[in-house]
Each structure stands twice: as structure tokens, then as C-alpha cells.
């Protein structure tokens, strides 16, 4: 499947040549999380209680902020039309595109999370479960966001509409994601919730590319 490798290579090259698009959402994550202790006070007990929620909510918003760069440039320069006219299986091309986007926007959040978790005094036993939940959860966020983005890429100002469309879909991921950390802190088993998140990820991997393709066809035909 040379098209998968070629698409990954193309997307990563583009991402690293215009690093602003990667760094902006990351900077948002860093700034938003660091402002919380200043805003709510440096009460360690309180901070450790809200740490998982704060990190999940800001990660979720950072992923949503990063979505705009997924299809925008391709839509404007006509590459999207060519993509839809490609004789290759579109499912895999779209999967490769979304995967490379997650590699530069979602994965850095997972890697940065432990630093900010300890800054918000999340107890040590919560850190690994937090990372595991983010590792499974952020790809789901990226894929759902890609569906919303594919639907709204034809509109010049899609920011608010995108939020209205996809935030409701993000809620289950947020609930289960923070649930994983809560269970770990209360010495309960986390495997059940992680398995549920995993099931959602598999469902998203199977279905969202089809929705993305259908949505892109609509956006391009306008």
C-alpha cells in the first residue's frame, strides 16, 4: 500500500515545514493548563482533584483547535478534488491523513501530559492511567473532529459551527477518559473503562473515514 506511506510522508513533510500549525494548539494546551493554578489558587488538594479534568478538557479543546489545518490547505489548493478522484481506496488515504495529523497534534499532548499532571499535583498513581486514557482517547477526538472539519471545510468561517457539531460527540470520550483517572486514584480497576475507550477507538477507526469521505464529497461539490 504505497499510497499510505506516500500520504504519511506528504502530511508529515507539510507539517514540519509549517511548524506554526503544530505549535499553536500545543501552546494553547500549555498556557491554559498553567493558568489554572493561578486562577483557582495553589491549594494542592483541590488541584489534585481537578487535575485530570483540566488536562482532559484542555487537550480536547487543543485537538479541536488543531483540526482546521487538516483539510483547509488541500481544499484551497485543489488537492482535495484530486484526492477524491484518485483510483486508490480512499478509506486508507483518509486514515493515513488523519493518523499523520494525530501524530503531530495528539501525540505531543500525551507526551506532555505527565509534566502538567505533576504540576497540578495529580498523585503519581494517576499519571500512567491518564497517559493511557489520552493515548486511546485523543485519536478518537481527532477522528471525530475530522468528520466535522470535512463537513465545514467549504465554509470560510467554520470555527463555531465545528464546535457545535463535534463537542457533543466529544462528551463520551471526556467522561470515560476522566473516569479512568478517577478509578485509578480510588484504587479501582481501570481496565474496564480503558476497554470501553478502546472499543470507541475501533469503532471510530472503522466508521469515521467513511463519514469523512462522504462529507468531503459534499464540501467539494458545493
Amino acid at each position: 500500500m504505497s499510497i499510505i506511506a506516500a500520504t504519511l510522508r506528504r502530511e508529515l513533510l507539510i507539517a514540519f515545514r509549517s511548524p506554526g500549525e503544530i505549535i499553536n494548539p500545543l501552546m494553547f494546551f500549555v498556557i491554559a493548563v498553567s493558568l489554572f493554578p493561578l486562577g483557582v489558587g495553589a491549594n494542592q488538594e483541590f488541584l489534585s482533584e481537578i487535575a485530570a479534568g483540566v488536562i482532559w478538557v484542555t487537550a480536547l479543546l487543543a485537538v479541536m483547535l488543531s483540526m482546521d489545518s487538516l483539510f483547509r490547505a488541500d481544499y484551497e489548493d485543489g488537492s482535495l478534488e484530486q484526492l477524491l478522484l484518485s483510483p486508490q481506496p480512499l478509506y486508507f488515504v483518509i486514515l493515513a491523513k488523519v493518523a499523520s495529523h494525530w501524530l503531530v497534534s495528539g501525540l505531543p499532548l500525551v507526551i506532555l501530559a505527565p509534566i502538567f499532571a505533576s504540576m497540578l499535583s495529580l498523585p503519581a498513581e494517576g499519571i500512567l492511567p491518564l497517559m493511557a486514557a489520552l493515548l486511546i482517547g485523543t485519536p478518537i477526538l481527532t477522528m471525530l473532529g475530522a468528520v466535522g472539519m470535512a463537513l465545514t471545510v467549504g465554509l470560510s468561517k467554520s470555527g463555531l459551527l465545528l464546535a457545535v457539531l463535534i463537542l457533543p460527540l466529544y462528551i463520551p470520550v471526556l467522561v470515560f477518559g476522566t473516569g479512568v483517572v478517577d478509578s485509578a486514584l480510588n484504587s479501582l480497576a481501570t481496565s474496564g473503562l480503558l476497554a470501553l475507550l478502546g472499543a470507541m477507538l475501533i469503532l471510530a477507526l472503522c466508521l469515521t473515514p467513511l463519514a469523512i469521505i462522504a462529507a468531503l464529497r459534499i464540501s467539494v461539490s458545493l
Partner: protein, 211 residues
């Protein structure tokens, strides 16, 4: 016949762009879609290549309905739109190698040759944002040679090209037709090709929507 159009009808904003449109494109033919600005030339081309499905009538690819023969159709048809489909942060070579991969071709050695035939020798590794509009157009046109498609659907292919480039492109198009390919194009430039041209005039097919 490669592409057959039967009784095509399309309206936009209560205006009929074309109705009862029939034509068939066979091997070795060059068709020019004529019409004034806003007459629906681009819309027609996008319908023909399957990007727009807001129409009634039939578009057949080798006798089969285009929507059902999607993969064969995409393999054999190349579409050049208004937008160049060139990412400006990538180099000419990187752009073209992705386009080749997206068509299932692995002819990396031919990329240089294709760029050379559009006078872009030495520009393979230059990021496209450093190129002029005409050079970007040439990179986009190089995709056409690499596509190995039989039918070329070209929307204003001569835009931004210099005189020399226009002549070379005309020669290329005639060669493609002589080699058994087919071309459907729109242009406001008066073509001087030594190959017979067939024409569809959209201005004659326009009208108002019946109430």
C-alpha cells in the same frame, strides 16, 4: 466511445445552465466546451469527472454509468481544475510523487522527465511557493503527463502560460489525441492545433427555469 453524455440538464440559481445536452467523446477526439463567463463550463467539467452530482441525465463511461464504474473511471480520467492541486510548501518533486502514488503509479524516474518536458529542469527540489504562477501551472500540468490517463478533462489549461508554453501545450494535446487519447477542455484562447476540434456551445443550451 469513451465518455457519453445523454440528455444532461443542470440548473443553478433558477437559471438553466444547459439542457438536452448530448455528446460522445471517442478516441482521438478533442472537444472544446465554449460559452461566455458564467455559462457553466466549469460546472459541466466537474459533472463529467464526478465532482458534482447536482444534475439530471446520464454520464456513461465506456457504456457503464459513471458512478458505478468509479474506480475504472478515476484510473483513466485526469482532471485539471482551476486550482493547481500543488501544495506550496512542498517541492515540485514531492508534489508529483504524491500525485503518482495517489494514482497507484510508482514512476519516480519519470517525474524528472515530465518536469523537463515543461521546461522545469533544475526546479525539481525548489519549494513551490518560490515559483511564479506560470511555473506552478507547469508543475500542475506535469501531473497530466504522469497520470497515464486516456481522457484528459482540462479547465482553462492555458492560464498563466507564456507564448512558448501555450505552443508546447497545444502540441502535447494534439500528440495525446493522435496516440488514441481524448481531451475535453475549456479555454478562451483561440486554439491553433493541427488536429480537428469538436465543440459544444453552452450559450445555445441555456434558458430559464420553467415556473
Amino acid at each position: 466511445m469513451m465518455l457519453t453524455v445523454n440528455n444532461l440538464y443542470c440548473e443553478r440559481d433558477e437559471r438553466v445552465l444547459f439542457q438536452n445536452l448530448d455528446f460522445a467523446v471517442g478516441e482521438g477526439e478533442i472537444w472544446q466546451i465554449q460559452g461566455s463567463n458564467g455559462s457553466g463550463k466549469t460546472t459541466l467539467l466537474r459533472i463529467l469527472c464526478g465532482l458534482n452530482d447536482d444534475f439530471s441525465g446520464e454520464v456513461l463511461w465506456q457504456g457503464e454509468e459513471q458512478g458505478k464504474a468509479r474506480q475504472a473511471f478515476n484510473q483513466h480520467v485526469f482532471y485539471l481544475g482551476h486550482a493547481p492541486a500543488i501544495n506550496k510548501t512542498l517541492t515540485a518533486k514531492e508534489n508529483l510523487s504524491w500525485h503518482c502514488a495517489s494514482r497507484g503509479l510508482t514512476n519516480s524516474d519519470q517525474i524528472k522527465a515530465a518536469l523537463n518536458s515543461f521546461n522545469l529542469y533544475g526546479y525539481e527540489d525548489m519549494p513551490c511557493y518560490l515559483m511564479s504562477a506560470g511555473q506552478q501551472r507547469r508543475v500542475s500540468l506535469a501531473r497530466m503527463l504522469l497520470s497515464q490517463a486516456k481522457l484528459w478533462i482540462l479547465d482553462e489549461p492555458f492560464t498563466a502560460l507564456d507564448k512558448q508554453g501555450v505552443m508546447e501545450l497545444e502540441t502535447l494535446l494534439a500528440e495525446h489525441a493522435r496516440a488514441g487519447g481524448a481531451i475535453i477542455l475549456t479555454t478562451h484562447h483561440s486554439l491553433q492545433m493541427n488536429h480537428p476540434l469538436q465543440a459544444v456551445d453552452l450559450d445555445l443550451l441555456a434558458g430559464l427555469v420553467a415556473a
